[in-house]
């Protein structure tokens, strides 16, 4: 459904992602684990078209996305929640979500989005910049969902968020998958979160996939070894 073949990304001469092959099925949740600087953000940003890829192709439901601009990828069904959330801080909560409606042409925020994130409904007239980190994360997810993606990319959604909220986020993401039939690809460093929500665990190191297992077969110790310096 979402496929990368011989995919590569580079900053100038330095290759960060090399020869990546990955096939993600419909409604699957895949967690990509990796230490700092292993290329998770680079991969995610290139998938949404913020930085160009260097080699290979990326396809969604058979459609080649490689040459599309960011907004065209969103129209094609890719949603993106960046590391650090990057919400529009001077705009209100509801305005932030409305920016995500651009590609659908809808005018009104669908009510089921607010029922996923009741806090956002309560705060819809506040400026995004005045929300807490956890609330901003929910806002970033809601904004990405507003475009009705068929695949949702999340880059380290747990960064800077306390454990109890992380648990809740895992639950919400699984709920989003079943309610909206979304494929989810999430990059992570928090192993417990990945084990909690994903169907499949990938470990990326120096731009290559070094481990690819279903979550039932994932061995905590092996993965921990990859994640520790």
């Amino acid at each position: 459904m979402f496929e990368l073949s011989d995919y590569g990304v580079a900053y100038g001469q330095s290759d960060v992602i090399r020869d990546l092959n990955l096939s993600v099925g419909k409604n699957e949740i895949v967690a990509i684990l990796g230490r700092n600087g292993m290329g998770k953000t680079t991969l995610m940003k290139s998938l949404i078209g913020m930085i160009p890829s260097k080699a290979g192709t990326v396809t969604l439901n058979g459609k080649d996305l490689s040459d599309l601009k960011s907004h065209e990828r969103v129209s094609a069904g890719v949603g993106f929640v960046p590391q650090g959330r990057m919400i529009f801080s001077t705009m209100t909560v509801s305005e932030n979500i409305e920016t995500g409606l651009t590609s659908t042409g809808e005018k009104k925020i669908p009510t089921d989005l607010y029922s996923l994130f009741p806090v956002l409904d309560e705060m819809k007239h506040r400026r995004g910049g005045n929300l807490s980190g956890g609330q901003q994360q929910q806002l970033a997810i809601a904004r990405a969902l507003a475009s009705n993606p068929s695949v949702l990319l999340l880059d380290e959604p747990t960064e800077g968020i306390q454990p109890s909220i992380i648990k809740e986020m895992a639950r919400t993401l699984k709920q989003i998958r079943t309610q909206r039939n979304v494929t989810i690809i999430v990059s992570e460093q928090v192993l417990s979160f990945a084990l909690d929500m994903a169907d499949r665990i990938l470990v990326i190191e120096k731009g290559k996939i070094v481990l690819d297992v279903p979550v039932e077969e994932a061995d905590q110790q092996t993965i921990t070894k990859y994640l520790s310096v």
């Binding site: 913020m50 907004h71 969103v74 960046p82 529009f88 705009m91 409305e98 920016t99 400026r127 904004r143």
Partner: protein, 309 residues
Amino acid sequence: MFADYTMAELTSIFAMQGFAGLILFSVFVLMALGLAIIFGQMGVINMAHGEFMILGAYVTYLTSNVFSSYLPESLYGSYFFIAMILAFFVTGALGALVEWSVIRHLYKRPLDTLLATWGLSLIMQQLYRSIFGAREVGVTLPDWLMGSYAITDLIEVPINGIFVMILTIIITVAVALMMQKSRLGKQTRAVVQNRPMAAAVGINTEKVDRLTFALGCGIAGIAGSAFTMVGSTGPTAGQLYIVDTFLVVVFGGASSLIGTVASAFTISQAQSTMEFFLSGSMAKVLTLLTVVIILMLRPEGLFSLKMRR
């Protein structure tokens, strides 16, 4: 300098110069609005903004000519409204064309856009000279805009001034509402805050750029329409206003609409009041000095949004 006047005379001088300043204020606000929108959106300083205004003025002039030569005289009173709408769309379309053909290739190169738009302003001036001649042209105001309204024996307000000001208020409010409420306005604000992220939520940033540039130029066109009521239109008339408009934008803090309005008001009032007592250039020097001093105290301009990032 006040000693030669009685108290009553002084009051009426201030009041009348104040009203005269209001027309200047209107032109400033409309010009600055367009300039600030374009600068805020893509960091482009449009050196040709004055020429876009003059294009609006020429469109108004042509429309009034068509009305007076081809249409029954009873319709002449309404030419201004048609002219204004035409001016908006003609300058807006030219703005979109310029953005598409030149500006979009120069984003991230501020110096190059400065040079390119400056070159554009020279080209436009030359075109005006070739098409309309070097002589200044003026429009005949319809009857209902002529004359003035006497508030007291000494204070008279020109009706065209009042009209231009009401027009400015309506347009400013409309632009403010558009930025706040409309989809384009929200998309524009998102692009201004974080361009790559705006694209990653599905906004076509290039389209937003083009529309914003067109809108900014279109408003300059309306400023040009208003300008025909108070000045005569010539190929280089736009140059006289561009510096003052930059001043207004910088002084107001480029990101704030209220700031722009307040700063246009201050600068136009200061100039027009002082011009009565001092020479025009002296008034300008004093205004500039004041602005420089205030900017040294508040480098971010009069108004700026305080936000947690």
